[in-house]
C-alpha cells in the first residue's frame, strides 16, 4: 500500500561529521520523487535514512522525524528491521544473492523472514517477476543462478525481490548508474508502471532521467567540502527544470556547476 512520507528537521551523522542538515520534505503516495544534486550532497544519505539503512554503518546517527503516514520511523519502540520490510530498496549495483537461483532470489525476502508455504510463494514470485517486467525472459530458467543474468536483468531481478515483500514504499539509489542505455530504458519504463502501486523515491545523477521519470524533484547541495548537505528546494518536476525558484538549482540544471 502506497504511503506518504513526511520528513521534518532531519540531520544524519557519520561519527561526528554531519552529512545532511535539517531536511524537511514530503513524498506523496503513488508518485515518483527524484533526488538530484552534485556528488557528496547527501542525497543518498537522505534516501538511506528513509528506511533506516543509514544506521547499518557503525557510528552513524540520525536526528529528526520521518513519518510514514502517521508513524514516526525513528520513534520509540520502532524496530528498524520491520521498517525495512515496509520500505524496500534497490541499490546502485545489481546485487542478487550469488548462492541463490532466480526463484530463490525473488523469494528471498519471504524465505529469510521465515514465511513458509510453497504455493503462494510460487504465486508471489511470478507476480513479482511480472511486476518487474522480467517474467517472460526468465520463466523457463527460474532455477538457474541469478548471477547468470545480464546487468539490466539482474537489476530488474533486484526490483522483483524488493516488491515481493509488498513494501509500501520503494527507494532506488541510482538504480541505472551501472547499466547500459537499453537496460536503463527498461528500468525507467518499469518505474512508470510501478508508481501506480508504490510510492517511489529515486536518487539519480542523470538529470534527463529525473525529468523523464519523476513527478516531483528535490535538489540537494553543499556549500563546500566538509559542510553538510542541504535541501535547496523540492517542487513539481516540470517546474524545477523550467523555472526553479532558487538560483543554485538553475545553475546546476543548466550545467553551470556540478
Amino acid at each position: 500500500m502506497a504511503k506518504r512520507i513526511d520528513v521534518s528537521g532531519l540531520s544524519a551523522y557519520y561519527g561526528s561529521v554531519r552529512a545532511i542538515e535539517d531536511i524537511s520534505l514530503t513524498v506523496e503516495p503513488r508518485t515518483v520523487t527524484a533526488f538530484i544534486g552534485p556528488s557528496g550532497c547527501g542525497k543518498s544519505t537522505v534516501l538511506r535514512t528513509l528506511n533506516r539503512m543509514h544506521e547499518v554503518i557503525p557510528g552513524t546517527r540520525v536526528e529528526g522525524k520521518v513519518m510514514l503516514d502517521d508513524v514516526d520511523l525513528y520513534g520509540a519502540g520502532i524496530d528498524p528491521v520491520a521498517v525495512r520490510r515496509t520500505i524496500g530498496m534497490v541499490f546502485q549495483r545489481p546485487n542478487p544473492f550469488p548462492t541463490m537461483s532466480i526463484y530463490e532470489n525473488v523469494a528471498a525476502g519471504l524465505r529469510l523472514n521465515g514465511v513458509r508455504g510453497k504455493s503462494d510463494t510460487d504465486g508471489i514470485v511470478e507476480q513479482s517477476l511480472r511486476g518487474a517486467n522480467l517474467w517472460n525472459e526468465v520463466k523457463d530458467r527460474l532455477n538457474k543462478p541469478g548471477m547468470g543474468l545480464s546487468g539490466g536483468q539482474q537489476q530488474r531481478l533486484c526490483i522483483a525481490r524488493a516488491i515481493a515483500v509488498s513494501p509500501d514504499v520503494l527507494l532506488m539509489d541510482e538504480p541505472c548508474s551501472a547499466l547500459d542505455p537499453i537496460s536503463t530504458l527498461a528500468i525507467e519504463d518499469l518505474i512508470a508502471q510501478l508508481k501506480n502501486e508504490y510510492t517511489i523515491v529515486i536518487v539519480t545523477h542523470n538529470m534527463q532521467q529525473a525529468a523523464r521519470v519523476s513527478d516531483r524533484t528535490a535538489f540537494f547541495n553543499i556549500e563546500g567540502t566538509g559542510k553538510p548537505g542541504k535541501l535547496i528546494e523540492i517542487d513539481d518536476t516540470p517546474r524545477i527544470f523550467a523555472n526553479p525558484s532558487q538560483r543554485a538549482t538553475e545553475d546546476y540544471i543548466t550545467g553551470r556547476f556540478g
Binding site: M1, V71, I78, V81, A82, R85, T86, V165, P167
Partner: protein, 337 residues
C-alpha cells in the same frame, strides 16, 4: 513473529490499513534471535581469551617453579640436567647452548632457503605465463603440506648421506674459519638440520613473496620498460623495490617458523650436551628438539624445566613475528603518507 501480526505483505490490497496495525507491524520485536546470536558469537570470543589466559598462567607457573629450583643461571648455563642425574639430584640447567643451536640452525635455514624462495617467487610471477605460474606455485605449495615428521625421516635416512660430501667440500674451502672445521666426521650436524629447515620454510616464504610480487603496479613495470630496461633491469627497478618490505617480513616469518620446528630437527641432529660451535660435524641441539628428545626421560623438575625452555622459545618466536609485522606496518605507513 506471532500469528496475530501477519507480515505486512499479507495486508489486503486497496484497503487503507488502520494506524494501530501499522504501528504494531513496525514495532514487533524480531530482536531476540539477533541478541542470542550476537551473544553466542561474543561468548565464543571471550571463551578463547579465557582459555589463552588460563594456559599462559599454568605455563608461567610451571616455568617459574623450575627456574626457582635451578642451581645455575638459567639464561647463561650450558648444562641441561634438571633432574640432577649427574649431580646427586641438584637441578642444573640453562638454555644458553640450546638457544645457540636454535639460532644457528635457523640462520643456516634462512640463508639457504630465502634466496631460493625469492628466486622461485620471481620466476613464477615474472618469467612464466600466469597459468603455468600458478601451477608451479601449487607444486611448491605442496612442500608445505608434507608433515614435518616425513621431512625428518627423509632428512635422516636420505639427505644426510648426501650432506657428508657437501660438508667435506665446505670444510676444504672454508676450513680456516673455526665454525667450518670438523673432527673428520660429517652429517647429523646443525648444517644438515639447517638444510632441512631451509626446505621447510621455502614454501611459506615463496608463497608470501609470490603474492606480493604479483601486485607490483603495472605503471611501475611499464615505466621501467619505457626507460629501455631489460627484463632483469625492470625487476630491479620496479618489482624488487615494491616488494622489499613485504618479502623481508616473509623471510622473518620463515625464520620464526624455523626457530620452532621440532621433530624434523630432533630426528636429523645427533644431540650432544654442551655448546657446539662446529656446524659441519655431528652434534648440536635446539630448544624445540631438546624438548622432544628429553621429555621421555624427564621427571617432575625435568618436565618443568622443559616447559621453562619452551616459554623462552615462545618469547623468541613472539619477538620475531612482532618484528615481521613491524616491517610491514612501517612500510604501509610510508606508502600511506
Amino acid at each position: 513473529m506471532s500469528s496475530d501480526t501477519p507480515p505486512v505483505l499479507a495486508e489486503p490490497e486497496g484497503q487503507a490499513p488502520e494506524p494501530v496495525r501499522a504501528r504494531s507491524a513496525l514495532t514487533e520485536k524480531a530482536g531476540l534471535g539477533d541478541r542470542a546470536f550476537a551473544g553466542s558469537a561474543r561468548a565464543a570470543a571471550v571463551f578463547i581469551l579465557v582459555i589463552m589466559a588460563a594456559i599462559a598462567g599454568f605455563l608461567i607457573y610451571q616455568a617459574v617453579n623450575a627456574i626457582s629450583q635451578d642451581k645455575v643461571n638459567f639464561l647463561t648455563s650450558f648444562a641441561w640436567d634438571p633432574d640432577g642425574n649427574n649431580t646427586n639430584g641438584v637441578p642444573t640447567f640453562g638454555i644458553a647452548a640450546i638457544a645457540w643451536g636454535t639460532l644457528v640452525t635457523s640462520v643456516v635455514g634462512v640463508l639457504l632457503g630465502a634466496p631460493v624462495a625469492i628466486g622461485v617467487a620471481l620466476f613464477i610471477t615474472q618469467y612464466v605465463p600466469r597459468k603455468l605460474g600458478s601451477f608451479f606455485g601449487y607444486i611448491v605449495d605442496l612442500l608445505a603440506a608434507v608433515p614435518s615428521v616425513v621431512y625428518g625421516l627423509w632428512g635422516l635416512l636420505v639427505l644426510d648421506r648426501h650432506m657428508s660430501g657437501v660438508s667435506k667440500l665446505i670444510e676444504d674451502v672454508l676450513g680456516w674459519i673455526p665454525m667450518f672445521k670438523t673432527n673428520g666426521t660429517y652429517g647429523s650436524s646443525m648444517f644438515t638440520a639447517g638444510v632441512v629447515l631451509a626446505i621447510m620454510i621455502l614454501p611459506i616464504v615463496a608463497a608470501i613473496s609470490r603474492e606480493i610480487y604479483k601486485q607490483t603496479p603495472r605503471e611501475q613495470i611499464e615505466a621501467a620498460y619505457a626507460l629501455g630496461a631489460t627484463k632483469w633491469e625492470m625487476i630491479r627497478l620496479a618489482v624488487l623495490p615494491y616488494g622489499r618490505s613485504g618479502v623481508t617480513s616473509a623471510v622473518i616469518l620463515g625464520f620464526g617458523r624455523a626457530l620452532g620446528e621440532t621433530i624434523a630437527v630432533a630426528m636429523v641432529l645427533t644431540t650432544v650436551p654442551g655448546l657446539v660451535t662446529r656446524i659441519l660435524q655431528p652434534g648440536g641441539n635446539t630448544i624445540a628438539a631438546n624438548i622432544a628428545v628429553q621429555f621421555g626421560e624427564a621427571f617432575t623438575t625435568g618436565r618443568q624445566a622443559l616447559i621453562a625452555s619452551g616459554l623462552v622459545l615462545f618469547l623468541m618466536t613472539l619477538i620475531v613475528n612482532y618484528v615481521a609485522r613491524l616491517v610491514i606496518r612501517r612500510s604501509t605507513n610510508k606508502a600511506g603518507a
